[in-house]
């Protein structure tokens, strides 16, 4: 269902933190049914870019639009169509899986009847843990719970910050399948990642962030992990010069 509608549009994004120009003119688009992998060394601004698109940070200059809405001026409209999976699990340790779902769906103004919530838990194979406090969950289980929450919210855009970190082999495979299904349904994915491994298989395009800009924006095509690593080294070294 590739309608090529740009769901994420970032133009000339600049973000200063005091004296540091973390982002210095970033432009990027992600279309419907597309996944873009954002690569870059630590401190290259991947998380900052994601946060701006997620309406968590305001840019110093430039614009970011999601689903046609400006991230600063129409933040609530953006939030209604967006899902974020980042470092924090976004769960309350003292609530059960079901209670967490109930809280977040109600807060987002969505229907939160028991059947719907239990079904969502079933989709991520957590229905047996519905009544168990999240404090005891593993990283993978918390990530699955986050996905259950997102599946209830039905976002059209997914922002991911190192989504495969801390997952075991099975968890990674499972997440990959989920993301493929999301793309197939017309969703757009922007994923910040460190790894060059199999996780990149989900990406249709690669964007390498260096020197505060997109140093390279290329279709992933048939690039293997070694190719990617070479490109990465080339562009991040150039930027350092």
């Amino acid at each position: 269902m590739m309608t090529h509608e740009a769901l994420i549009e970032v133009v000339g994004l600049v973000r200063l933190f005091g004296a540091t120009r973390v982002l210095d003119g970033v432009s990027l688009t992600v279309g419907s049914g597309e996944a873009v992998a954002l690569l870059g060394p630590n401190g290259s601004g991947k998380s900052t870019l994601l946060k701006i698109v997620a309406t968590l940070l305001r840019p110093t200059r430039g614009t970011a639009r999601v689903l046609g809405h400006d991230c600063v001026r129409e933040a609530e409209a953006v939030r209604a169509g967006l899902g974020l999976i980042a470092h924090g699990a976004h769960v309350y340790d003292d609530l059960t899986a079901l209670e967490n779902l109930r809280f977040w769906t109600t807060l987002s103004g969505l229907p939160a009847d028991r059947e719907r919530l239990t079904a969502a838990l079933g989709d991520v194979a957590l229905e047996r843990h519905a009544g168990i406090r999240v404090r005891t969950f593993s990283v993978g289980m918390k990530r699955r719970l986050a996905l259950a929450r997102l599946s209830l919210a039905r976002p059209r855009v997914l922002l991911l910050d190192e989504p495969f970190a801390g997952l075991d082999q099975r968890g990674r495979k499972w997440l990959q399948t989920r993301l493929e299904a999301f793309k197939a349904g017309g969703g757009a994915v922007l994923m910040a990642t460190h790894s060059f491994g199999r996780e990149l298989e989900i990406a249709d395009r690669l964007a390498i962030l260096a020197g505060g800009r997109v140093a390279l924006d290329t279709p992933r095509g048939a690039l293997g992990s070694d190719d990617v690593q070479r490109l990465y080294a080339a562009h991040t070294e150039d930027a350092a010069l």
Binding site: L84, G88, A89, H90, Y92, F103, T106
Partner: protein, 225 residues
């Protein structure tokens, strides 16, 4: 109404988490009990003197408990990045403020009811006919404390010097509430009718309106992190 549902779910979440972690309520109760003893020992056994300072001492206890308890309202949001998740959940963010306010208010009222009962027991005070008026004053005063407290708690939750900064911000701002509640309580304990202290509880109502409206309008700015 969706706004009410959202505010209620926030209040529900806070109360459930509090009941299960038992962090705040127990500490507040023990603190209040300790205050009771401290007051008794520092003020001496003179019955008359105690009766005279009882309103002030009572509200001092309430406010100090509030300072302890309210400062922690947003700490739970720091775990697992729930703070940013609260911001990301679509909808009017002032509903989160209302929910937090409601939960804090409920907690504080529970503590205050217990403390009041203990005070009347230990200092042998007969509340009798003053109770309805007193209940009104306590609710109005606590609402004011919680309304400002929730706002300032959001401000200080992510600051390193939170434990010091929160009371420093809160106490000066609460002077009108403190004065209003103490003077009204004083009059009520002397069996004066509520109408005689109309200006005091009207001040409390005015303060409550100002604080809650300010909170509703500015909370989302604080949630931005």
């Amino acid at each position: 109404m969706r706004y009410a549902r959202r505010a209620l779910i926030v209040a529900w979440k806070d109360l459930v988490v509090e009941r299960r972690s038992k962090e705040t309520l127990n500490a507040l109760l023990f603190f209040s009990l300790a205050l009771l003893f401290v007051f008794q020992f520092t003020l001496g056994p003179d019955r008359e003197r105690l009766a005279a300072v009882l309103p002030g001492v009572l509200w001092l206890g309430f406010i100090l408990s509030g300072v302890l308890g309210l400062g922690r309202t947003f700490l739970v949001e720091r775990d697992n990045d729930c703070w940013e998740a609260l911001l990301l959940a679509p909808g009017d963010k002032s509903a989160v403020y209302v929910g937090k306010l409601a939960a804090s208010l409920a907690l504080m009222l529970v503590v205050e009811a217990i403390v009041l009962a203990l005070f009347t027991l230990f200092f042998n005070v007969d509340l009798g006919p003053a109770l309805p008026g007193l209940a009104l004053v306590i609710v109005l005063g606590t609402l004011g404390i919680a309304a400002v407290g929730a706002l300032f708690a959001a401000m200080t939750a992510q600051v390193r010097t939170r434990e010091l900064l929160f009371p420093v911000l809160l106490l000066p701002v609460l002077v009108p509430v403190l004065l209003g509640t103490v003077k009204a309580t004083e009059a009520l304990l002397l069996r004066e009718p509520l109408a005689s202290v109309a200006h005091w509880w009207q001040l409390l109502v005015a303060a409550d309106v100002v604080y809650v409206v300010a909170g509703l309008l500015t909370f989302d700015v604080l949630l931005e992190g």
